[in-house]
Subunit: 335 residues, 2 copies
């Protein structure tokens, strides 16, 4: 039995208020974590607003958790009390389906987000199944690694799943929370990276992250000049852009991939897909093995998220900033 | 110098009329073919109507050619006079670009359709570059193999390029010219094939071709029952369908693939793509190596197109039938 002190909303779009709940007995395969930092992800805002119509209230956001193991269930074999760990979007999967048993547990149809079992990481403590509690390498700073657990894992997983090669010329659309991590990973991957952003003042940040080129994301003339040149384009934005222009910028067999939820796609030219044998797709958060690979890669290449840290007591102001501005990096709460 | 007797349209959508042209001297790498049969493909109709705004008139359609080699240029090494050969959509490629030199000449941006160098196979003779003149195995009947050169190659190439596995459960949308060949290939591939068609009377044909299941292509309830069950869906239709329902029918990592030109896609759910790591794509006609593989596979499995043969003199009536009815198979002209 643990009494957990969290911040919860009581209705769609509601302010987060102090909220206390009894967590019950720790399950045999469960891990309880003392939260030190927790990133704010756009999907927290979507859940807060019940955009996906699955939110239950009171709702505690938070799924980019970094902390230390407080307690472990009787059958936990993956982590030890006191160890520094992270938790991302998924808190538990069924463990028995085809996907769980063939290396893709992140595709489990019964996956439970950590924010729904029952509550997330905007709290002094949070729990997850041992398979989804990830050891954090000592070299990574807690604040900077926190957003890697969901946002970073989403873009890193896209790179892995799409089979991006080091020799590829790639594009990244958007240079916000997801985009800036994607640029850092792809530059370290060895790729020549072109950034597309509507925020022209971010050009120098893009270069600092390792990008070779920077264009306005709605500049059709620039896109036309790039025709047939990019092997992979990763979109990290939540708006509609002239997608056929981006498809045209792909080389033959190129892929346009969406990281994170985006609005429905309209007027997609099958002719453009056909002539260049191009594909369009998306992928979710990573499995624990890919998250661990990502953390090792981040150590090797000194990659961390650009973050600004806010105290949990100012969580509502931090959310307002994320909604109304376009922060170049990621906002992380200190618990 | 050869005088070629063809059938040409003189304006967009015009009737085909007897048309004679001088073909000039045979190029050193060119092959001249005496046409015996030539299939009518939907892209002939698109070219005839100038739908793609690249047609030059007088226009001679025809790119599913079967015939015998009449003459070869001085440097031709791939075929001999008298040999039975086929020619598909592409008549020549540049031979020097990245794609030509790395096994994907069908993706060459400078590819010239046979119907534009200068005229197609609705004629007693037609010419193509030696690399695009394909030897036909003796076991295949000329009429039945003719539609394999373009329509068959398009669906076979989609299967190859998408890496379809014999253990996959697959869907084929449409049971016309392309669809019926796709079902035959996929059944021989070892797949469990589900056919979606708006023509319920085609159910028995689907089963005869090797399909295991048959559903109405707009039956959302049937699609809902198939959720997360198909590894690959090949659409061969030129209309919009409820694509998100088809995406939902795909298993995780599944692919929805378009064979042949289709209308722009609207309201595609990124959420559906994301949750199941699904992709959407298309591909063009095959390269000559894949066409040759297809012909070998067709021999091995006794696959040929269902065809009805019309004399070239009735070409306009045959085109009208293709436009106004939904023939279960493919129409082939006898020269």
């Amino acid at each position: 039995m643990t009494t957990i002190h969290a911040y919860a909303a009581h209705k769609p779009g509601g302010l987060l208020e102090p909220f206390t709940y009894e967590a019950g007995e720790l399950g045999p395969e469960e891990v309880e974590v003392n939260v030190e930092y927790c990133g704010i992800c756009h999907s927290d805002l979507s859940m807060l607003n019940n955009d996906w119509e699955i939110t239950e209230y009171p709702f505690v956001p938070g799924h980019e958790v970094i902390g230390t193991v407080a307690a472990i269930g009787s059958k936990v074999a993956t982590v030890k009390p006191g160890q520094r760990v992270g938790i991302g979007w998924i808190g538990e999967t069924c463990g028995t389906c085809q996907y769980c048993r063939t290396g893709d547990p992140n595709l489990c149809s019964s996956a439970t987000p950590v924010v729904m079992r029952p509550h997330g990481g905007f709290a002094n403590q949070v729990r997850a199944h041992q398979n989804w509690v990830i050891p954090i390498p000592a070299a990574l700073a807690s604040e900077g690694v926190s957003p890697l657990l969901c946002g970073g894992a989403t873009v890193f997983n896209a790179i892995v799943q799409c089979g991006v090669k080091s020799t590829d010329h790639v594009g990244v659309i958007g240079l916000g929370g997801l985009g800036h991590m994607a640029v850092a990973f792809l530059a370290a991957w060895g790729c020549e990276v072109t950034v597309f952003s509507s925020s022209s003042h971010k050009a120098s940040q893009a270069k600092a992250l390792g990008a070779a080129h920077f264009f306005d994301s709605r500049d059709s003339a620039a896109l036309a000049n790039l025709a047939d040149s990019l092997d992979f384009i990763l979109s990290t934005v939540n708006v509609n852009l002239p997608w056929n222009d981006y498809l045209a910028a792909l080389s033959k067999k190129g892929r346009l991939h969406f990281a994170g939820v985006a609005p429905p796609l309209n007027d997609i030219s099958v002719f453009e897909l056909l002539m260049g044998q191009k594909t369009l797709g998306s992928s979710p958060d990573a499995n624990p093995f890919t998250i661990t690979q990502m953390l090792g890669f981040a150590c090797q290449h000194h990659i961390q998220a650009d973050v600004e840290v806010w105290p949990i007591a100012q969580v509502n102001a931090a959310i307002t900033k994320l909604k109304t501005e376009k922060p170049a990096g990621r906002i992380v709460l200190a618990l």
